[in-house]
Symmetry: C2
Subunit: 434 residues, 2 copies
């Protein structure tokens, strides 16, 4: 069979990796796909630099539109990032009847509904394994491997930068800012780290996972997002003492009244595999009603792991492009006419367990007052410990059983107003998972 012709938009880290792996493993890939997959054209900013990598056999342009409108190109691979130029190029590629492979979580989390609708209309595939958790085939696992299941929830470490920072904070006892600087020096964090450390990147990915799991439209704007920049070293140490590690988790869960969609630092029991995912590694735990818990682990970013996911999608498209569109795998795992419109729950309506830390004046009656307020709000305490701070104050840590977040907020407002409470209450969520 004649080779599949690929047009690469972008030849940065992931684009370069895709070129390298397609070249080095060309034979292995053709043995699987049944035909060769060749890069026929690339769009880049720096033509000279691109030529040094791809040589003279590949068409090189600075205008992405040259590629998406090139009639010889079968599949467009979008690796530019962002949601402006990338958006225009992907929409035009679809209009031109081309299949699209993309690693762009921001684009899909924000404009996925429009993009998938256009692709469905035109009968082309838009696939995005590389957009979530790098080389781990988690999109395929949920979309195709767990189709028998009513998925109940999933929880994932889906940002390597923050997991690296949290691992270092714990193992070396260092504060956030010190570890962030080191991560930047090592190349694990960007110069402007906001997207990673504030949980936005994780929320983009979680938004896509939630759609795949539950068959709902992408709704990034409804996600609750908290990062790790204000996480205190002492809470990591206290958590450890209680048998927990703190991870930045993306969590989405089906409730009777809606879907939870949230990214935040989370206490996870130490014996849970997720708690043992260290450094820049990613992992996603998925709970299905038939299969029970399954976990997927691997490198969530980087040149070659992400290229691995891009190329897996290229092989899938190579195979499926011959099938009629109605028999292909749906973009978001569910048929477009079978999507659900279950609401995303406001954060006040989620259910979680909670870790609460506060500093109080050390005098009789304090614990009784705190316990009564929590109990009045229907919050039941699983465990607590208290340790002196100096001679007149004490730190108290509570671990609650599952409660509605709005009720916790109400109790914390009352607690915060008590005269003997000497600090803002630190509140972290606890997920016991499986």
């Amino acid at each position: 069979m004649s080779p599949m012709k690929v047009g690469l938009l972008g030849l940065g880290v992931v684009g370069g990796g895709t070129w390298k792996v397609l070249t080095q493993n060309a034979e292995e890939i053709a043995r699987r796909a049944g035909r060769r997959i060749e890069v026929a054209a690339v769009a880049v900013r720096d033509i000279e630099k691109a030529r040094r990598l791809v040589g003279d056999q590949v068409s090189v342009t600075t205008d992405g539109m040259d590629i998406v409108r090139n009639p010889d190109i079968d599949i467009v691979v979008e690796l530019i990032g962002g949601d402006t130029l990338a958006h225009d190029l992907v929409m035009e590629a679809i209009k031109q009847g081309k299949h699209v492979v993309t690693a762009n979580k921001a684009l899909l989390a924000r404009h996925g509904n429009e993009i998938f609708a256009a692709a469905h209309e035109k009968g082309v595939m838009v696939v995005f394994e590389a957009a979530v958790a790098g080389g781990i085939p988690i999109v395929k696992a949920i979309r195709e491997g767990l189709t028998a299941n009513r998925i109940q929830w999933l929880a994932g470490i889906i940002n390597g930068t923050t997991n690296f920072i949290l691992s270092e904070m714990r193992s070396r006892g260092l504060p956030f800012n010190a570890v962030l600087s080191e991560a930047q020096r090592l190349g694990y964090a960007e110069t402007d780290p906001t997207f990673d450390i504030e949980g936005i990147d994780a929320a983009h990915k979680l938004t896509l996972l939630a759609s795949l799991a539950f068959g709902i439209p992408v709704q990034f704007n409804k996600a609750h997002v908290e990062g790790i920049s204000s996480l205190a070293q002492e809470d990591i140490a206290h958590a450890e003492r209680l048998g927990y590690r703190i991870k930045l988790l993306g969590i989405t869960r089906r409730r009777a009244d809606g879907i939870e969609l949230r990214v935040h630092p989370t206490l996870v029991p130490m014996e849970c595999l997720l708690a043992n995912v260290e450094g820049a590694m990613n992992a996603v735990l998925v709970q299905g009603d038939a299969v029970g818990p399954t976990l997927y682990y691997g490198q969530g970013a980087g040149e070659l792991p992400t290229a691995s996911a891009v190329i897996a999608d290229l092989v899938d498209v190579t195979r499926l492009q011959a099938a009629d569109p109605d028999h292909r795998v749906p973009h978001l795992a569910f048929q477009p006419d079978a999507m659900d419109d279950i609401a995303i729950l406001p954060i006040a309506d989620i259910q979680s367990s909670y870790y609460l830390r506060l500093r109080v004046e050390d005098r009789p009656g304090v614990l009784a007052d705190l316990a009564r307020i929590l109990s009045d709000a229907g919050i039941s305490i699983g465990s607590m410990f208290q340790e002196p701070h100096g001679t007149t104050e004490a730190d108290i840590i509570f671990l609650s059983h599952s409660a509605r977040e709005g009720d916790v907020d109400t109790a914390l407002e009352r607690i915060q107003a008590l005269p003997f409470v000497r600090s803002p209450v630190t509140r972290l969520r606890v997920e016991n998972l499986v």
Copy 2:
């Protein structure tokens, strides 16, 4: 679209689970597959018992041939087990042009080459996600998720019974026989546990994983298989002290001169996720050249997890049956005309690290003699410890660096013949993985 009509061969644990999940999650599955998937006929031993489960709407027969020859059936699901009747029914189903879903690892590990060739010839699919690691979509991950990679090796805990036994032996300090009896009482082990405890079931699954990873024919008869029935409690304790846990691993690895294919108890570093897979859970670690390590974890057996895998295959077949056979996913991940004939290495030619334990007379010169023999054989020692046994003897434990197994055998023969060696040498393999 009209429903897909499924014929179930067998309505035992997995067959019953498949019926239940297909019924309970019918709507969720149809939302994904684009049409309903219905059981139209079942073949069972006990018609009365089957009727109580499936009611009157489903055709029930005692003769599987009624199902595989029924023109109304689109997909045959083989859940009988064994390789006699199941073999005849699967071959006849293929001959009748039906797609086949099977959970039967013994059948495919022993007769896969014949079955896949017949299926290719006839243009039908034979899929087997449920045959390896229950509900974990590991077949799909290797076959489709990692297609970019030249896979270097994989190592898996792919038998839940033995992992349960090893977990209990370690955590409770009990000997093999005591834990086996308990596992039988709890239903984790069969009355005749040979297939599980001697590693045969794991070797069936490993044989299939090796074919998917490397594009080689199934060659169960070339696998090296050792079980856990002669594993001593004291080796589990010594391993723990050295920072390792003992797991029954299936390991397959690409070497310059061939493929390693082996199942045996293995020391795994404690910090490796695989070492932390406890109880009856399964996990497979796959190393690809682009993606690096990825791990897949979940329940490896049981009614509903295995049904989850069967149904994922049913949905795949439902989608792909409309595609022309040349554009479907190949049975063993590689195109039939692109399979490789790399040899499976004899066990003497594998490379591994080794754990050696022996009892010796406690007198000067012993350690020097042992060290010289190992060194003469080119075996380098990473660590060792010695502890007294009574007043005149000592136990010595060596951990070697990577060595050729045949060289280790030669050295052990010489060591065993030494006059001061008072016990048979215990030899276990050590894999440091990643």
